[in-house]
Structures are given as C-alpha cells and as structure tokens.
C-alpha cells in the first residue's frame, strides 16, 4: 500500500494533481519546463508550455503577473528559483500580492502560491542560502508555509493551491531528496495546525523545515535523559499558538530552533508569544537556537558553525533543563 517518494516529487505531485483537476491552475517561473528540475519534472510534457511556462529572468514582472492573473480567478503557482532572488521583487510580493485583498476591502482576492527553494546547502554563500521567511511572515496578508517532510509537502501544497489567499511555500534545498511515505491520492493538510512529532514532558522544541530533523535528532540523543516534545508548526502564518502554549504548559520550557536569522525572525516571534501568553507556565528562560545574525558564509565549516544543528539544540535543551 505504502509508497515512498521524495520531498521534491511530493511537491511535483501536488502540482500535477492541481493542474489535472483544475483548468484554472497554471505554473510559471524560470526554467519550470526544464526536464531536470525535480519539483516540476514532467509537468510541461503533460500540460503544455502555455500552462507550464518558462519565464524570463524578471521576477517583478512575472510574480506581478501572477498577482494579476490570480485577481482574475486564475490560480497561478509561481516559482522563484531561490528565495534569495525574491528580494528583486519584494514590491510585487509584499505590497501587491500580500496586501491587495486588504487594501481593496476584499473587492478582489489573490489565490496565488509563490513556491521557492530556500535554505543553506553547503557552500551556497549569502545569496544562495537564506530562509528569509521572517520577512514574509512580518507582512500581514501572506500565509507562510514551511514543510519539513514529503507527506506534509504534498498535503500543504494542495491546501496552498486551493487557498483563496496568497501563500508563500518554502522548499528546503536539502530536503529535496528526503524520502517518505506519501499517499498517491490527493489530500490536504490544514494550515495553522501544528504537528507534534515527539511527545515529551521536560521541554518543548519548536522547529520548521529542515530544522525539524535536527530537533528530532536532538530528542533522540537525549532519550532516557530528558523528555523532549518536538513541535512542527508547519505554517508560520497562521501559527498554531495554541499547540505551542499547550505544550509549554506541560513542559514549562521552550527552545525555538530556526535556520533563519535570529533578529526579528520566527524564533523571536515564538519566544515572544510564549513570553506573553505562556509566561506563568515557564520554569526556565526561553532559548533560541537560530542563525546568530551572520550572512551565510561560503566556507562549509563556517556555514555549519553558524547553522543550528542537533548538537546545538542538545546544548540549549540541557541549558534550560537543569
């Protein structure tokens, strides 16, 4: 019954399902029709070059065209080759895509998905390695999805495509080949519902994307010594605050793990939410294990040095559970 595919294949499959079942779904971006790109492989052949469309290197124009098409009732999936490149198009993303619904008082809405690869790859340096979802989550109007495994990737992307609101979908470069069981049929995972991957009683660890794997490794390493609860919110916006607060109520301790820059990032947000709403349950300082505000260095040793990993998470956990 069970079938194993990769994270990238799961993403491809969600798009294939949507393109098959809904003629208003289209996909475009740079080289989306190139046969070797795993997350869009075969889609051009099946759906044609009009619906799976190569775009010039003009992120502002084609992301904006996605916004416009979405306003017209098309459901565009727009691919950014890497999230770092989105900085050339932030007006279309943060002013137009995210805020047009509100600014027009709902006169129009924007059912669009912006997909992007993100994350440190080992030697990508600071223009090919970032997360930056902190920036996208900062702007009201944008839903922000950061899947940590193939099953979630497919289910969350299906939800994203069906959502009548703008969604940014973050695909970690180093999860691309991660294998996992994924049903063949289409399914959705609701936004704003965290996934508790390990139950525990001593400390709550919150992580998204690739960092979920590191958090799980840390939990395994501490097994028998410290009981670690690992929570993957899956979506930063909307955020399942309740799940986090419920867990902290039980454990009394919080470690937030984040590959993104620490300052004014997702790790700050989770820490702040708990300091506001879960304070009376906290038995120890909150801890953040995030990129310590260092642009990603090219050298891999340095890169690993600044990236969160299981070892640093273990250290942080031991620090708060003592």
């Amino acid at each position: 019954m069970s079938r194993t595919i990769t994270y990238a294949e799961a993403i491809c499959e969600a798009q294939r399902d949507a393109l098959r079942s809904d003629p208003s779904v289209i996909l475009f971006g740079e080289n989306v029709a190139a046969p070797w790109r795993p997350a869009t492989k075969g889609l051009k052949d099946e759906f044609g070059k009009e619906r799976v469309r190569d775009a010039p290197i003009t992120e502002t124009a084609f992301i904006g065209a996605g916004v416009g098409a979405a306003i017209m009732g098309i459901k565009p999936i727009v691919e950014l080759m890497l999230i770092d490149f989105g900085l050339v198009a932030m007006d279309q993303i943060l002013n137009q895509m995210a805020k047009t619904t509100y600014m027009t008082g709902g006169n129009v809405n924007v059912p669009m998905v912006l997909r992007a690869i993100y994350g440190a790859r080992g030697g990508g340096a600071a223009t090919h390695s970032e997360c930056l979802y902190g920036i996208y989550a900062h702007m009201p109007g944008m839903k922000v999805v950061v899947p940590s495994n193939p099953y979630d990737a497919k289910g969350l992307l299906t939800t994203a495509i069906n959502d009548p609101n703008p969604v940014v979908f973050f695909e970690h470069i180093r999860l691309s080949n991660m294998e996992g069981e994924v049903p063949e049929e289409s399914y959705s995972i609701p936004f704003g519902v965290a996934n508790t991957l390990r139950e525990g009683t001593d400390v709550t660890v919150v992580a998204v994307g690739r960092m979920v794997q590191e958090a799980l490794k840390a939990a395994d390493e501490l097994k028998g010594k410290i009981s670690v609860e690992v929570i993957d919110p899956r979506t930063l916006v909307p955020l399942d605050e309740e799940a986090i607060l419920r867990s902290v109520q039980k454990t009394g301790r919080l470690v937030v793990v984040d590959e993104d820059y620490e300052r004014c990032g997702f790790s700050a947000e989770v820490a702040a939410v708990v300091a506001e709403k879960g304070f009376h349950n906290l038995k120890a300082p909150v801890a953040r294990v995030a990129n310590p505000n260092v642009p990603l260095p090219f050298n891999k040793t340095l890169e690993n040095h600044v990236l969160p990993d299981a070892e640093k998470i273990v250290r942080a956990i031991k620090n708060v559970v003592k």
Binding site: I26, E50, R51, R53, A55, P56, T58, T60, A61, F62, I63, G64, A65, G66, V67, G68, A69, A70, I71, M72, G73, I74, P76, V88, D91, Q92, N95, Q96, T100, T101, Y102, M103, T104, G105, G106, N107, V108, N109, P140, G141, K143, T159, N162, D163, P164, N165
Partner: protein, 311 residues
C-alpha cells in the same frame, strides 16, 4: 475614421464627468471631509478615449492618479467617492483610499500607491484573458516617471515575449521640461524625448502623440487595442499631457479643446453643453452626498479582509 455624433458626445461627457468628479473631490477636501488626493486633471482625453474601446470584461491597471481611468472604465461614482472619504460604503470599504480603489465589477483593477506597481499586475490580467481564450484586453496606465521603473520595463519585455493582449499607455505629463511632482528636476529622468522610443527595445510597436485631442487618442488607442484583441501582442503608446488645475484655461485642456471643436462642428450647443454638465454635476453631487452621508467603517472592520474565507 469619422466618429458619429453620439460617440463624440459620449467622449465629451466622460471627460466632463471626470473633471466634475475631481472638482467634487476638491470641494470635499476644502470642506475637510477628504484628505490628500493626486489629481488626474488634464489627462481626461486619454482615459475617456481609451476606455471608449473597452467593454466591462476588459481590465485596466491604473496609478496614483486613478480617478480618470477608473471613471472612464465605469467604476461606480458613489462608491468611489465614499472610498475617497474613507467610508464603509466605499469600493474598498474605506480601507484603501484613492490610491487603492478597485472596482472589480467593471474591470477597474485598479489604482496603485506604488509608482509602476500596477503594470506587472495588468500583464496578469492580460495573461488571464489569454489563457481563457477570450479576446479581452488589458490596459496598463503609467506616467513618464514610472516608465523608468524596473518592473515596468520588465513587464514590457514579458508582454512581448508572451504576446500578451494588452496596451501600455504612458501619460507623459512633462513633455517639455522634465518635472517630477511639480519640481523642475535638475538632472533629467529621461534621456529620450518620446517614451515610445522604448518600444523597439522589446520588438513591439509604439507611438507617441499629443494627449489632449480626444479623437486622436481614440484613433491611436483603437488600433492598438484591436491589435491586442486579434492576438497580435502588446503596443506601447505615449500620450503627452499637461496636468492642470481645477478649471485652468489652457490650450492643452482636452475638455475645452473638444468643447470648442464640437461647437464649431455644430454637434454641441450651449444648451446641450449645459445639460451635459448639469447632468454630470448631479451625478457627482449624488456621489458626494452618498459619501458624506455614509457611515464610517466599524472598528472591527479593521481586522477583516486580511484574508478571505473559503478554500
């Protein structure tokens, strides 16, 4: 091409409507009922003539001076005025203001607070029309200042590469000496005289014309729009205009020019002109009363429309 009398009077009436509406806004500003608005005055011939070729299922993307474009496209005057006054009955429920008016019903999609911001979106409207296999088109309005924005230039290329059914309409408001928001700039922002000189850079046709002769604009815009409808791709048009004050007497005032012409041609009489003007004034008055009399949004409305419901 010879325009019929009705068509000519329609063009005239739309221009009068735009001017009258903006003067109504000016009055509300004087009355302290509206804050700041960027006026379109002087460009009326462009909006009126372009939209005379459009149907409801065509779209426009507009600018920070959107009132003329929106009115010509048929946006609801009452709800527009209410929006400008920040009322719950506005097109945007009072949450967008003049810079962000959208009226989806008539394809007025829409004003934009970011210079050049609506241009990529207008390409998206055209893309949707193309994918739906209609012969509908979109118009992308922008100023000569906006013409330099990266997103605008990128979109010219995208539209050409994807053969999008759209027309780029640049309203050049400083055709003689270069200005920005009324400031005579020390360094030029353009090193060409005609924005349409950019068309060959994207392998698309382009033309530059005066923008105060509504019939000339009508003719030029019509050709480009028909071209787009036939699936032959985008065109870049530039119309030179002069921004005017409320009732400035200027040889570049499109309304005055056309009134004189229609009177000369015997199409418009003093009486008919008075009738048109008073009819339009009545509509605008009605819009002003509606806006002033409308309720403010409820405080809870601040939190709605960030996301829409459903999936």
């Amino acid at each position: 091409m010879k325009l019929g009398d009705d068509k000519r009077l329609d063009l005239y009436r739309v221009m009068v409507r735009i001017r009258t509406f903006e003067n109504g806004v000016r009055q509300l500003i004087n009355d302290g009922k509206v804050g700041y608005v960027s006026f379109y005055t002087g460009g009326e011939a462009v909006a009126a003539a372009v939209s005379a070729h459009l149907v409801k299922e065509d779209q426009i993307g507009s600018t920070h001076r959107p009132l003329g474009h929106l009115i010509a496209k048929g946006a609801d005057l009452k709800r527009m005025m209410a929006e400008i006054a920040g009322k719950a009955t506005g097109t945007n429920k009072g949450k967008g203001g003049a810079y962000h008016i959208f009226d989806k019903e008539v394809g007025a999609l829409g004003a934009n607070g970011i210079v050049g911001g609506s241009v990529p979106m207008a390409a998206g409207y055209a893309l949707a029309n193309q994918l739906k296999d209609t012969d509908n088109v979109s118009i992308s309005y922008f100023g000569e200042g906006a013409s330099n924005q990266g997103g605008v230039q990128e979109t010219l290329n995208l539209a050409a590469c994807w053969k999008l059914p759209m027309v780029f309409v640049c309203e050049n408001s400083s055709p003689e000496e270069q200005t920005m928001l009324g400031h005579k700039i020390d360094y030029p922002q353009l090193s060409i005289t005609d924005i349409s000189q950019r068309a060959p850079a994207y392998g698309m046709p382009g033309e530059s014309h005066p923008g105060w002769d509504v019939e000339e604009v009508y003719k030029i815009a019509g050709e480009a729009i028909q071209r787009a409808r036939r699936g032959e791709g985008p065109t870049l048009l530039e119309f030179k205009i002069h921004r005017l004050n409320a009732d400035e007497d200027s040889p570049h005032c499109p309304i005055k020019c056309y009134r004189d012409k229609l009177m000369m041609d015997g199409v418009l009489s003093k009486e008919l002109d008075d009738k048109i003007r008073s009819e339009e004034a009545a509509k605008v008055k009605e819009a002003m009363d509606f806006a002033v009399g409308s309720p403010e949004p409820e405080l809870v409305d601040a939190y709605s429309d960030i996301f829409v419901e459903g999936a």
